[in-house]
């Protein structure tokens, strides 16, 4: 083999094993699931491909509430994260000084504890007579029947908590990259603090906010752990339904149809968001 041919083939040889793994276990399954969502039948008698759109119609009409709730919870959690996280990212980027990496490390601490365990820890902390509400109730500051668990507030706060670092980090990266000379230039041109913030810092931080939304909205909307641990039975999300249909009822066509609906919804949301925000290529932002 000539050395030029070998050089041309090298990248393909490097990609081959991992690419094959992703093709078989990531790309192909998506197609399989699409096909499964259009089949009819049941676990016992087997499935046949029949272009059965009923799974979609049934799934969406039956679980309409959960779908809408998921989107609302996901949006609410994302919004809370932006509001709570931006000042933190801002302060670390501009005032963190030499200890920036220490603050970032502290922000990432939760990731050293299992996601499920963290959520259960919240459940424990917020329980009706738990560490937070117990003392407040015995002091008479709250009525005896006051509760946080099994409410939508608990679920949204749990979601916001669990994915907050994913929001702060990209915002921090964008803010950290801002050249201090730009801020000086703004001040030289008689912009006040507010003007400088609104017209220089904020626009330059948008790619970070964009990446953060991308990294938090998708997992928050499709989550079922928070709804299940913190939300009781009346705040279930679409993830709970998919999990239940797949693993308990084993109604694969409806479960697949719902997964596909969720995926389409998320893709459409991201696409619309990218168009409206008008930032550069989504890929480019995400690749940073």
């Amino acid at each position: 083999m000539s050395s030029r041919l070998r050089a041309a083939l090298t990248p393909y040889a490097l990609i081959f094993p991992g690419g094959l793994w992703l093709a078989i276990f990531f790309v192909v399954p998506t197609v399989v699931m699409l096909s499964l969502s259009l089949q009819s039948g049941d676990v016992v008698s087997g499935y046949a491909f029949t272009f059965n759109w009923h799974s979609y119609v049934d799934g969406i009409t039956t679980y309409h509430d959960q779908i809408v709730r998921s989107v609302i919870y996901g949006l609410a959690a994302t919004l809370i994260q932006i509001v709570v996280g931006f000042p933190v990212a801002y302060w670390i980027a501009f005032r963190g000084g030499r200890r920036k990496s220490v603050y970032l490390f502290l922000l990432l601490l939760p990731f050293l504890v299992s996601f499920v365990l963290r959520t259960i820890s919240w459940q424990f902390f917020l329980s009706d007579n738990g560490l937070l509400l117990g003392p407040l109730k015995s002091l008479g500051l709250l009525p005896q029947d006051f509760h946080i668990l099994a409410t939508s507030v608990a679920v949204v706060c749990g979601l916001a908590y669990n994915y907050l670092p994913f929001m702060v980090l990209p915002m921090y990266v964008a803010l950290e990259r801002i050249d201090p000379r730009l801020l000086e230039a703004a001040q030289d041109l008689y912009a006040g603090r507010t003007q400088t913030f609104l017209r220089v810092v904020l626009p330059l931080s948008l790619p970070g906010v964009f990446a953060g939304v991308l990294m938090t909205f998708v997992p928050a909307t499709s989550d079922y752990v928070n709804a299940s641990v913190l939300g009781g039975t009346s705040n279930t999300m679409i993830g709970n339904v998919i999990q239940n249909q797949f693993l308990v009822n084993q109604d694969y066509p409806v479960a697949s149809a719902l997964s596909f609906t969720l995926m389409a919804l998320l893709l459409a949301g991201i696409y619309a968001y990218a168009r409206v925000l008008g930032t550069e290529d989504v890929l480019e932002v995400a690749a940073r």
């Binding site: 399989v32 490390f105 499709s222 999990q243």
Partner: protein, 261 residues
């Protein structure tokens, strides 16, 4: 000036409050690993004890679940570490037809909702009648970790100076010798970081594992199954030890980096 100072201070206090909020459930977890409970429920403070550290491995299937998690994470780290690094090297170093598609698949795998990934992989296994268990978990973990490793390694490769490899070749080193003696040592920090990320993603994964585990249990799955009946203090202790190990590793890493610099 005074106002600016005050505002800076206010934001600092706010940042610490957010950090405290993030750390709160961890503190609760650690604290209740030292709780002297006698009944089945570990829900109210009964006094300080170290006994759960002594009885750490007394619940057989919990211990087995933790062992499963660690073994799966190590396998994932090795397999995804190698496969992902190769992709990262190709994407960072070469321009070739198909690079765009590969990048797109990476991006899709990173941003795809976990539940969709888990559910579609389960669809494949169900359709092919593959029995679920240990190996399907490993397959799924490698699948979702590869892209994270590849992206980490690609970033490292892109910062490298190509002239060093050209110099090695000018000095008579063959392709393999150049790779082993020049390229690999230079990209190794990226490979190491990517592999450790794969380990961390694997040991903490719940959603995709939940879909593809069959009756095999990992540490997060065991905890999930036990939530309805109440968690034994051993779970808190194991969580605390994993947390401590993670903190130690991160601190050691930072100190080493500082010494090298």
């Amino acid at each position: 000036m005074n106002r600016g100072l005050l505002r800076g201070r206010g934001l600092q206090i706010y940042t610490w409050l957010v950090i405290a909020w993030l750390a709160l459930p961890i503190a609760v977890m650690i604290l209740f690993g030292f709780n002297d409970t006698h009944g089945r429920y570990n829900t109210s403070w009964q006094g300080f004890t170290l006994k759960w550290y002594g009885k750490l491995f007394e619940i057989g299937d919990l211990t087995q679940a933790l062992v499963n998690s660690i073994v799966i994470a190590v396998l994932t780290m090795v397999v995804a570490g190698v496969l992902g690094s190769l992709i990262g090297l190709a994407l960072g170093r070469y321009r070739f037809r198909g690079a765009g598609t590969t990048n797109l698949v990476m991006f899709a795998a990173i941003s795809c909702a976990e539940i969709v990934m888990g559910a579609s992989l389960l669809s494949l296994f169900v359709t092919l009648a593959v029995p679920l268990g240990f190996w399907t978990i490993v397959i799924s973990h490698v699948m979702f970790s590869i892209s994270f490793v590849a992206v980490t390694v690609r970033a490292r490769v892109m910062t490298l100076d190509r002239s060093l490899e050209e110099a090695a070749r000018d000095l008579g080193a063959g392709t393999w010798a150049t790779f082993r003696l020049v390229t690999l040592p230079m990209i190794f920090p990226g490979v190491l970081a990517g592999s450790m990320l794969a380990f961390a993603l694997s040991i903490d994964d719940f959603v995709i594992t939940n879909f593809n585990s069959g009756s095999t249990l990992t540490f997060p799955l065991w905890i999930w199954g036990a939530t309805r009946v109440g968690l034994p203090p051993q779970v808190n202790v194991m969580g605390t030890l994993i947390f401590a190990a993670g903190v130690l590793l991160a601190v050691a890493n930072a100190l080493l980096a500082r010494r090298r610099a």
